[in-house]
Amino acid sequence: MWPYHPELLETPVPRYTSFPTAADFDVLPACHYRTALERTQGDVSLYLHIPFCEQICFYCGCNTGKANKRKRLESYLRALHREIETVAALLPRGTRVRRIAFGGGSPNAIAPVEFLRLIDALTIQFNIDEPVFSIELDPRTMSREWAQVLAAVGVERASLGVQTFAQHCQQAIGRVQPEELIVQTVDWLREAGVSSINFDLMYGLPGQTLDDLEDSMHRTRVLGADRVALFGYAHVPHIVARQRVIDATNLPDRHQRFAMASAGFGYFLTHGYVPVGFDHFAKAGSDPLAAAATSGRVRRNFQGFTDDPSDVLIGLGASAISSFPGLLAQNEKNSGRYRMKAGDGQLTVNRGIHRSADDRYRGAIIERLLCDGRSRVGARLLAEVAPRLEPFIDRGLAHIDREWLSIEPDGLPYARTIASLFDAYRAVSPRQFSSAV
């Protein structure tokens, strides 16, 4: 097991899917986003947010609503189609789309025909060049038609919300999905030619034991998952109101959570997976993310750890975040206001932050530390963090060799905390994040 130093994990830290983080966003007029789009060059990636699920799980902090309100879903999709036109018209002709990701919510909460129409619209509006398609899927709403459509579109990567195979944990989080459902989904996806299947798993769930976790990891491997993302359940009912339903007395304590994260890491490491960042794993030798990890090409973005080399990500849909070298911009979160603005042909961005040269420098260090476990750090910045880095170096969790700061293998669970030392925003605004492990 990793060495446990609870005193170093006391301060909750961000996940750094961007830097600055979404918590540091401020009001941002949409015209800044417009300018960033108009100045974009080269290859871009698209993310489409489908904030609907057939059933809402108790634990989920995503911006989602129930899909059963047909009218609302239809008017959302109409607005999304309109946003696709608005945004595409602003991009210079030379920009090429090389990656298209669908996330949510559950993109398969919409009908397969609706998904096809979105692909059709993207094909018409953007300059799409043999893109890599990826999609998040809810196994509970997976169908043969969906598999047929994924095959026709050429979706290569899919991510399944599995979370746990333990029935008592599934009940506790309001996500009951028998194993047969996962097996059927994997079969359909393989038949459809999906070559990279990710399983999202969780530790720290109510009532979950180490044995439960190991059993889930074992089943995940046997089912042939190409990638695994192992997240700690963040119990923050003061932020995610729907979590109030979950019985907090039954949650594993901090030490148990640490042991679970450690066991998870050890399991995948010894069963043919390459660790990617601090919570992703990819099958060695076959999955492109594993190849990226071994050659230092992993990047951090809103979807986690990725092999996407593009510097520009355009987010479409309510609450979606776009990322440019000099700007982070978030679409209107409120679904009603999003539908109204986007449906009217307006850009809906209303929050975000400009990334200053200092932000970019610090952001690059944070990204490299999280993705590669090491980063070059300039003398000035190293001097700034030195006192706060000391406890980690003293305990053998990190070391400095000239201008290189490296996190030791044992220091992995502390990677986010070490990275946060370079986050100038945290020093001034202590906010509530989930704990690092």
Partner: protein
Amino acid sequence: MNEPFLSRTANFCDACTVRNRAICGDLDNEEIVALNAIGQRRHLSAGENLLWEGDDAVVVANVVEGMLKLSTSTADGKEQILGLAFPADFIGRPFGHSTPYSVEALTDVLVCVFRRADFDKFAREHPRLEHKLLERTLSELDRTRKWMLLLGRMTAEQRVATFLLDLSVRFPVEEEVGTQPGAFALRLSRGQIADVLGLTIETVSREFTKLKKAGVVSLPNRREVAIEDREALEDLAS
């Protein structure tokens, strides 16, 4: 929908030449009668529009005869061709609110038109049709992808070759009465072909001449073409 050019014939489905290939192909007789009752046949002359982009999606249609052009206008006001519709193709967006493209008849056209609300209701009540709809949406995506590739990445030679192959497949020669064996009608003028392929008339004419000189096609007259060497044409298209 009581305009004079609409005609409602009791059993036009019986004599329909595309019925086996069209979206209604899998329906049984009873269902066909029901669908027939909500459909109307409509003739369009070349140049007439069936749908306008951005309109409320009032109708959907099966193409029975002729060719139509699907297009949208880009942000800078230019016309962007999205593809061609041939007999047995389905156009319009069931379960959609607005029409994402304009549809214009390139030749004289016969279509079988349904009010969208009627069609949606029928599709909901007949799962077989709903499944067909998925297939049609898949072929619509194929058409879009193909056309975007054609306009965005193909040379003039590839575009013309692709167009001729398409035409030969969509209007099988056996249904044709050409002036020489294997010949089929081009249906479109050089100017129309240039328009849909994003080329100039001169380029289209030049490509036709090149293909003829190479013995890949023969051109019995200005309105007909015969493919002499299909393999060579396929090579040129790819």
